[in-house]
């Protein structure tokens, strides 16, 4: 066990002094008030859920808590002392830890080194006088890993881990550091988990929940998630932000998902309407027969029809992502063939795929689809349009303006660099880039990853509209509910092969039916 230096909680004393107390803090960027006079108090042994739409001010609040921004006004107290963080490192040293959505591990180093690297400043024994003690490095890391119930060998290079495994290492590292720093400061740790579950599978989410329960014993947790049922299950108390203000702060008892949704959005979630599945046309636009790539997927038969959404579900590593990337020509396939409009295709590359009317929305928005430094308008017109060589500035402006209206992209400033938009709006711009070409096939790899429910609903509406206009859609959904909600056909993959197919109109499968075929 890790020595946290924290004695068994003394409930009466602890209640009196909260770990974190925010008194009317505000932050304004230019003319935009991101956080308006927000007050919040978090006690020791409390897990607080923080929810809100994209752009509600959650990230600004988190950035103030972790020392990235200083509040313009107001007072911040940590463990009973007023603090003004000099920077993220200072916040870490005071016992505030954050697990980001983006991973921040050194992929070339071992798991053990990654865990210990940051803890060196917080009094880890693994490095003394600038010299590494490798046996101590390994021991400390094994202890930390064991604590979160992970069986990842500490000597594994991070580059060999799966995305979800890396996330577990990231969480282990942050918790370790926060506990050590807080112990050194004589306070209790505050760990912020910023959408940690969006990339985790169910089993790992359970491990994480157990760890949150253990963290509750020694400190506090702020849990940010877009999965409302998860927030309700994990947290003791829920704080809702809207337009930079705190609109609700209540214990979870008696609160429903619908309540939270209403608080976040300010209106009710409209009932799910399954649109009538169009009949299968005689010939699929794109089909795969016996498609395979060793180590990724095999014997995949798939028909994508105009006007139909095919959702592919499966666990992490079932080969869904590799399949989509092969269909778009990003990665090759070794077996089987692809047929486009009845003709087999050869030497498939993204360039040919785009020319043939395919569109691909990658999961890694920041890396593969959004060019942050370019303006939104330029991002929107990155893929050649009807005028292949030259797009006049006026034409680009008109095109961008039209799509900004159509998909309700905010703020309505197409000339702003894309990185200044919120995640949901960035995703809409990327989607608009493809929709502007009236694609015949839309390949969507986790289109809702990292989006809040409001933005997700808007993106889903765009997908439905594109489908209604005749696009064949292949969807890799984040959740089974999303797949069931959108898909006309559901294809289940397991270990690289297709294990089941459902027609949602006639079979009406449940999440349980899908899960059964997934594992």
């Amino acid at each position: 066990m890790i020595q946290t230096g924290i004695v068994a909680p003394d409930a009466s004393r602890v209640k009196a002094a909260p770990i974190l107390r925010l008194d009317a803090i505000s932050k304004t960027f230019g003319t935009v008030a991101a956080v308006k006079s927000l007050s919040l108090s978090i006690s020791r042994h409390e897990v607080v859920g923080l929810i809100g739409e994209n752009g509600a001010g959650k990230s600004t609040l988190l950035k103030m808590l972790t020392g990235v921004h200083l509040p313009d006004q107001g007072r911040m107290e940590l463990n009973g002392r007023a603090v003004a963080f000099r920077g993220p490192l200072d916040a870490t040293a005071q016992g505030v830890g954050i697990v980001h959505q983006e991973q921040s591990l050194f992929t070339n180093l071992s798991v053990a080194e990654n865990i210990v690297m940051g803890a060196v400043r917080a009094g880890s024994q693994a490095v003394r006088g600038g010299i590494y003690r490798w046996s101590t490095v390994r021991r400390e890391a094994s202890e930390v890993l064991a604590r979160i119930g992970s069986d990842i060998p500490p000597d594994t290079p991070v580059s060999d881990l799966s995305f979800a495994e890396r996330q577990m290492v990231e969480i282990a590292r942050t918790i370790h550091l926060a506990c050590q720093s807080a112990a050194a400061q004589g306070g209790a740790p505050l760990v912020i988990l910023d959408e940690p579950t969006s990339v985790l599978e169910k089993a790992e989410t359970e491990v994480l929940e157990a760890e949150i329960a253990r963290l509750r014993e020694i400190g506090s947790v702020i849990f940010v998630s877009h999965r409302l049922e998860e927030v309700l299950r994990i947290c003791d108390r829920i704080v809702v932000m809207r337009h930079g203000e705190l609109v609700a702060d209540r214990p979870v008892a008696g609160v429903t998902e619908a309540d939270l949704y209403r608080l976040m959005i300010g209106k009710d979630r409209h009932a799910r309407i399954r649109d009538v599945a169009p009949a299968v046309t005689s010939r699929p636009v794109l089909s795969a027969s016996g498609l395979g790539r060793p180590g990724h997927f095999r014997d995949v038969d798939l028909d994508l029809h105009a006007g139909r959404i095919t959702a592919v579900v499966g666990t992490f590593g079932a080969g869904r992502e590799a399949l989509v990337r092969s269909l778009f020509g990003v990665e090759g396939h070794d077996r089987g063939r692809m047929i486009l409009d009845g003709k087999p295709v050869t030497d498939w590359t993204p360039r040919k795929a785009i020319a043939a009317g395919l569109a691909y929305l990658p999961a890694e928005r920041g890396v593969e689809s959004a060019v942050g430094g370019l303006s939104a308008a330029r991002n929107l017109t990155l893929v050649p349009h009807e005028a292949p060589w030259w797009l006049s500035p006026a034409r680009r402006k008109a095109l961008a303006g039209a799509w900004f209206e159509r998909l309700d992209i905010r703020p309505r400033l197409p000339e702003l660099p894309l990185e200044r938009f919120s995640g949901g709006n960035q995703q809409k711009v990327v989607l608009a880039k493809w929709l502007a070409r009236n694609p015949r096939v839309l390949l969507l790899d986790h289109p809702l990853r990292g989006l809040d429910p409001g933005a997700g609903a808007a993106v889903n509406a765009c997908i439905r509209a594109a489908c209604a206009e005749g696009a064949a859609v292949l969807l890799l959904a984040d959740t089974l509910e999303e797949a069931l909600d959108l898909g006309h056909e559901i294809v289940v993959m397991r270990d690289g092969g297709i294990s089941a197919r459902f027609d949602t109109a006639t079979d009406d499968p449940t999440t349980l039916d899908l899960l059964e075929k997934m594992v």
Binding site: L89, T92, V120, V127, Y132, P157, D160, E201
Partner: protein
């Protein structure tokens, strides 16, 4: 974690495969070269005398390579080696017993030359991190600053020859068949390995090379460490300048001519990518040995010296292509 056990097995296999590739391929190439040249020239190539010759030519690039690869690990580059060698070498000669009789401070000339090198390296690093300008252009400038210092020290008088005969003979004298210069290079390499594996500085170099933003957020003093690594590289260049001057037996500003190409080529051929984060000293030593063996073998095989530089250029390009071959995905960005 149950869903991950399948990939877990594959993970270990993949890890082992990468480990196997970690340096062994380069060693195989080296042994292959030795075998080929031994067959081509059985009377002259595989002899102890020739081994001493190869190791002696390898010693200066090894010393340079240790420092240069420490810098390359962070994703930076030090192009100043030739100039720093000139400045440090000239300092050494003028502070030792020489024909110009400037000054003779005995063995202290060694640390003095190293200090000149370290200072120039630290200057490169400091300008790079303070002005936030690319290290390749700063070090390119410092290269010529070093040459300038050497030229000023050289002045307009006659060439300063080293007068201590035993000192001049020291690098090529052998101990158990291995020249002293190479033994010195091995000591430097051992120091490099120790820094890389056992110190916070060395581990941080790998971390910085992998992801500098994360390194800063983890509390690694990136700027300080980068300056220290550049100073270390400068000190290595200084030492190389001393060894080079001893080999020449005289002071010359251009003592390091041709060494930059050799050093960088050895780093890349050894398998340390210029992007940083992977590789290290031992790989660079292997790279130097490959190149030295190749040069030596080509000479003994009677290949015209004038086409040697062309051959070594081709070897460098081939090595880079081979190193990147496994990663040539369709959408990988390279620039």
């Amino acid at each position: 974690m149950t869903t991950l056990t399948g990939t877990g097995g594959a993970t270990t296999k993949r890890g082992a495969a990468t480990k196997w590739r970690g340096g062994l391929a380069e060693v195989v190439i080296l042994l292959g070269l030795v075998a080929v040249f031994s067959i081509l020239n059985p009377t002259h190539f595989p002899t102890l005398t020739n081994l001493a010759t190869i190791l002696n030519t390898a010693s200066i690039p090894v010393i340079l390579g240790v420092g240069a690869s420490a810098v390359v690990l962070t994703g930076r580059i030090d192009l100043s080696v030739e100039g720093v060698m000139g400045a440090a070498g000239m300092t050494f000669v003028l502070l030792s017993a020489n024909s110009r009789e400037t000054a003779d401070i005995g063995w202290l000339a060694w640390p003095a030359a190293l200090a000149v090198g370290a200072a120039l390296g630290a200057l490169t690093g400091a300008i790079h991190v303070l002005a936030k300008v690319p290290s390749f252009i700063v070090s390119l400038g410092i290269w010529y600053v070093g040459l300038g210092i050497a030229a000023v020290l050289f002045g307009y008088e006659m060439i300063p020859f080293l007068t201590n005969e035993s000192a001049v003979a020291w690098p090529t004298a052998t101990l158990a068949g291995i020249p002293n210069s190479f033994l010195l290079a091995l000591c430097v390499a051992a120091l490099g390995v120790l820094i890389e594996r056992m110190t916070r500085l060395g581990r941080a170099a790998y971390a910085i090379g992998n992801n500098e933003a994360v390194a800063r957020m983890t509390g690694i003093p990136v700027s300080t460490f980068v300056v220290i690594l550049f100073a270390f590289a400068g000190a290595c260049s200084g030492l190389a300048g001393v060894v080079g001057s001893l080999a020449l037996g005289a002071g010359a500003a251009n003592v390091g001519v041709g060494m930059l190409f050799l050093t960088l080529a050895a780093i890349v051929i050894g398998g340390t990518p210029l992007g940083g984060g992977r590789g290290g000293t031992l790989r660079t030593v292997t790279g130097v040995l490959i190149l030295s063996t190749l040069y030596n073998g080509l000479i003994l095989a009677g290949v015209d010296p004038s086409i040697q530089s062309g051959v070594s250029g081709l070897v460098l390009v081939a090595a880079v292509v081979a190193a990147g071959w496994s990663q040539r995905e369709r959408l990988r960005v390279f620039k």
